[in-house]
Symmetry: C2
Subunit: 435 residues, 2 copies
């Protein structure tokens, strides 16, 4: 693994907005499903997923869900059930209440916090189908109180029984029972606009291929969407106390995701840099996904040696990584200095997979430097707020003149008159009666 | 004002994404400012705002800010200062703390909540420059703790001294002292990428013309942006107890904003419908902005008569209006039934301008039916969260096997090994030493 000096290293990469042809194709599919409903949905499922379905076959049945449990090891069910419990417990702490501020003049101001009504979760098919991601999308919505959560996932080519049973078990463990075997841009359109079989949702989340991403952009506004995730990233900030074997293993756990994934070590220790570099090479050889991990390390991996730990922290803040491991002697002494990082893992035992799967915080985290201004998925992503304003007569009489002053300062006379008509009625606007 | 039966009335309108020429133009301006910095910024200011500036003239000086106070009535300064205090007080209640969950095994999980570091607020020039909007964008950012808030606003054509003094006073009252006289797509690019004079920000908010909107879309990802507001809307839900004069005045206060604004009365009372319709016509004649208000009422105004108040509530929930006034005998008895509305005004004295200017809640509220899934601007729009995971050795030893099970269930062996290398070291993974 290459050791590089501090430089203008940047995690940010171009976002793929698709070719004009892909854009046109996604637009067409969305528009067809919007106008034709199930007919177009089934036609595109036949064309693109090579699966012949009728409308009554779209929904995954209770007996299919039950059958999935038989195809999955007991130990996996136990593990995913514990993970679900931890994720639920963490997200419960994010929940907020509606609140009111009762004022001495009798006015009440407040913020009403409500769950979204219906949310759609897209789960990709094939190898990119991660049961853990099902939990990470569904549980925050559930904790927010969303009463209807629906999942869509492409049918396996050529058949009905092909949905990955691990996905179905994860969905059932998370509490989702409304699942449709549709995928691609057509599934996104069905969720956004509804069809005869699938009722429309308020928000769509979950990852997918370029057509799914483009369709989500296309329907945004009619529904909310989550943000589009870039390739995964880890930065390990380590001092001489760190264990090179642990550091290397953690870097590789990120690198195996994807050839575009990025794994970076930042350290003031030359010695650690050398040892991690050698250890990465050694462990890499033993990995089943070594081709992927190797390409990632080659193209987007680096060991950056800094003058000091302090300089290392400033490099981290500039990179604003999705995942940050603080493998330093006293991690709590440094966490307050980290301004930009999606998730921060402290100490030798907080290996990134702990958070990917199990501890409780969400694993859907801002990538591509966007941790500067955005946040991991949480309960807030599935609520909406309404302001509440109950103004008492006393408050209006007291403040009416100031409100009219501000309205007239902006040249909005009808705004001023909406107040004035009330003040006049109460005999508080110079003259009484009439205009 | 026309009375219509309950029907498939929809507040949603097409969003303006600009012509291909406008898109290309905005892209070009952004790209030029990104690469050339101040040079391009000043060139476009000369070309588009017909104002010849040098880099050292971009920033509004302290003495200009002071001078603005001399150009504005005392009563306006007092009113805007009270409004700022109310807005600050309301938004203070939205603030949240970072939190931790300390577990019995010594692990600590948490969510770190931090302000964004630097935020840019765009304020349009000319008649669309609203001092109240300056407060509504700036104060939540300030309350969130954003240390650097910067404002940009176009120079008045042909001169330096042309920035609306009401805007400058509002900025100063809100506490913004870094203000640049630049506007359009070039100002957005300067905020996103920085120039020699203007340091880059993490988020850009505030309304603007189509080029500003397109430039914001273009720079999204490099920085965060707020959502793009559609025309303003009010729905008044009223029963026979409502005062037709008040209802009409409130409908017109919305209609005067913009020819595309929408003002709708929903009521089960035929009598109220007739009286409000007549009253709107009467008040309309007396308004300085009657041409605008009249076009709005004509094209996007309606009185919808329902069978019952209950049906009225369901119409409101379908419309998901930006502003809702509940002018019914017992508004608190109905507020719990309102699922979708950006801001809810209760009772006869809570006229919409109370919230537009003064009460405290934000007046930047979701339009175009998006209150179904989005929220008024608040402190949350100016913070970011980081997950914190400190896992104890005990926790890892206890849960390591489950984490490995989940990783291997997803085919991610390097994830499993990052855990295994630690368990082995502690003698808890079957065999000790080596792989």
């Amino acid at each position: 693994m290459k050791i590089v000096p501090v430089q203008d290293f940047d995690l940010r990469r171009e976002v793929d907005y698709g070719t004009p042809e892909q854009n046109a194709r996604a637009k067409q599919i969305v528009s067809d499903v919007k106008t034709e409903g199930d007919t177009a949905l089934l036609r595109y499922t036949r064309e693109l997923d090579r699966t012949e379905l009728t409308a009554d076959m779209l929904r995954v049945t209770k007996s299919e869900l039950d059958a999935a449990y038989g195809q999955v090891e007991e130990s996996f069910i136990a593990a995913i059930s514990s993970a679900a419990e931890n994720i639920r417990s963490f997200h419960m702490r994010e929940k907020r209440n509606s609140w009111m501020d009762l004022q001495p003049d009798g006015s009440i101001l407040g913020q009403i916090i409500r769950p979204l009504k219906r949310v759609g979760v897209y789960v990709p098919g094939g190898k990119a189908a991660y049961p853990s991601s099902v939990l990470m999308n569904v549980i925050p919505a559930q904790v927010a109180g969303v009463p209807e959560i629906v999942m869509v996932t492409p049918p396996a080519t050529g058949g009905m029984d092909g949905i990955n049973p691990y996905i179905l078990v994860a969905a059932a463990e998370a509490g989702v029972h409304e699942i449709y075997r549709v995928g691609g841009a057509q599934a996104i359109a069905a969720l956004a606009y509804g069809t005869e079989t699938i009722a429309p949702v308020d928000k769509i989340c979950g990852p997918g291929n370029i057509y799914v991403a483009l369709a989500k952009r296309e329907v945004y506004g009619a529904v909310d969407i989550d943000s589009i995730a870039g390739p995964s990233e880890i930065v390990v900030l380590a001092d001489a106390s760190a264990d090179p074997e642990y550091v290397a293993a953690d870097l590789l756990s990120q690198a195996e995701h994807d050839e575009m994934a990025s794994a970076i070590l930042v350290t003031p220790s030359h010695d650690l840099a050398e040892r991690v570099s050698a250890e990465v090479e050694r462990q890499l050889e033993l990995l089943p996904r070594r081709d992927i991990a190797s390409a990632s390390i080659q193209n987007y991996g680096a060991i950056i040696v800094t003058e000091s730990l302090k300089e290392g922290i400033s490099v981290v803040n500039r990179l604003a990584p999705e995942h940050l491991e603080l493998m330093v002697a006293d991690p709590m002494a440094h966490v307050g200095l980290i301004e930009n990082a999606g998730a921060i893992f402290l100490g030798a035992y907080s290996s990134e997979p702990v958070g990917d799967y199990f501890a409780g915080p969400n694993h859907i985290i801002p990538t591509n430097g966007t941790a500067r201004f955005s946040s991991p998925v949480d309960v807030d992503d599935f609520i909406k707020k309404s302001s509440m304003i109950y103004y008492s007569k006393e408050a209006l009489l007291k403040n009416g003149a100031a409100i009219m002053e501000l309205a007239r300062g902006e040249g909005l006379e009808a705004h001023a008159r909406a107040i004035e008509v009330r003040l006049k009625r109460e005999g508080k606007a110079g003259e009484e009666n009439g205009n």
